[in-house]
Symmetry: C2
Subunit: 217 residues, 2 copies
DNA sequence: AACCGGGTCCCCCGCGCGGGGGACTGCCGA
DNA sequence: TCGGCAGTCCCCCGCGCGGGGGACCCGGTT
């Protein structure tokens, strides 16, 4: 089964280079070349290629905008590969948010570009390795940011439990009902939590819990 | 320049399969094979290979644990590629957090595995495309999570300002001082905010603001 | 045996908070 | 011109909250 590809770049020279690369593969077929983003959007809608390879920088509408337009139409099944000369975090995140299947540097070896087209066509996504590393780094911090404050293990299990409920904005009475204890007991726990964490009142406790990521888990 | 590789998997058969794949490349050299995670950690420390290919499931210490131990020692420059039979989100995120350079399925074609080793050795990271796609999806939501509640634009600019300060756990008096207005004014603003957002008290307001991501920005 | 920490319950007191009213200014659009 | 809205300030009232005490039980350590 052959794969149809659309090329979008404002430099005719680069387009023919890409076409030459793809034409070395019997199963890859360039069905269109366009020179700007708006043409890319309309030609994709008309020809519905398997994969569209878009330069980021293009006249009228850049690759990112074209990607967003193409993928916002659910009728389009075309996968998007974005090409850029220099990578930039901003570009990557916007591209990924829009749902692009790949984000590649023009320095990528031809055989890897071909492989990227096949990967994208079968529905998987692919990012240039040098970009992936930064993506991972940023993803990792956004996943495991909260360096649990040390004073937090001064709290007993029960106190942590109460703190969690306080941070969900429950009143002392509500917490008491939820834990099946008297509300005087809850007041004691809350007071101890505030003292141990050096917080003024439950409002500070709520902010503290959320800021330190206690509510994610 | 040749690249040294360490293989860790509890199945000798799979190890020899991997070794055979790498030995087809003149510049790749398997310097060690081990059958469990602890051996992997010590051999990596001793031989300092360019790349270590670790199975996730191994006796004594799994690939994830071994990765964490290896990468927590800054003296190790070895890059880690993790292998698994079935992918699991949990594994991926833990692997990425530990700093692994790759997360690959055993179904990966040999030539892509070889390419992965080269990519890892030159300091880049690489994830199996099918995994990448989910990574992107999750990353995208973690970047653009706060679907700003509609009732929020009932608030005037001043009220949003006050809400932000409330969410930072400032008292009415503190907010008044900060905004150079009387505290009666602040009380009015707070009351309006609570009414418009349907919140009971400032404690709910704090939780609301944090949960809806108003504090990130 | 004595001790201590965690969990539970109780009383009193002061205060910040939030709701209920009302009122004045300035600005913008009908 | 007049209304409405946002922003500011004011008073009173009730209540939840947090600090200050104290008390009991239980389990584990000394």
């Amino acid at each position: 089964m052959t794969l149809t590809v659309l090329l979008a770049d404002d430099h005719a020279m680069l387009r023919s280079g890409l076409r030459a690369i793809f034409e070395t593969q019997p199963d890859l077929h360039c069905v269109a070349e366009v020179g700007d983003g708006r043409a890319a959007v309309s030609e994709v809608a008309r020809l519905r290629p398997d994969v569209a390879v878009l330069d980021i920088r293009m006249p009228k509408l850049d690759g990112l905008g074209a990607t967003e337009m193409i993928l916002s139409d659910p009728a389009n099944r075309t996968k998007i590969l974005l090409l850029t000369t220099y990578d930039s975090d901003e570009y990557v995140y916007r591209a990924l948010n829009a749902g692009a299947s790949g984000f590649l540097l023009k320095s990528l070896p031809p055989e890897e570009l071909i492989s990227a087209v096949r990967v994208a066509a079968r529905g998987d996504a692919l990012i240039d390795p040098s970009v992936t590393q930064r993506l991972i780094a940023r993803f990792a911090v956004s996943l495991a940011p909260p360096p649990t404050p040390p004073e937090l293990d001064l709290l007993t299990a029960r106190e942590r439990e109460v703190l969690h409920l306080v941070a969900e904005a429950f009143s002392n009475a509500e917490i008491a009902a939820r834990l099946h204890v008297g509300d005087e007991t809850v007041k004691t726990h809350v007071s101890r939590v505030l003292a141990k964490l050096g917080l003024r009142d439950r409002v500070h406790a709520v902010a503290y819990a959320h800021i330190n990521g206690l509510m994610r888990r």
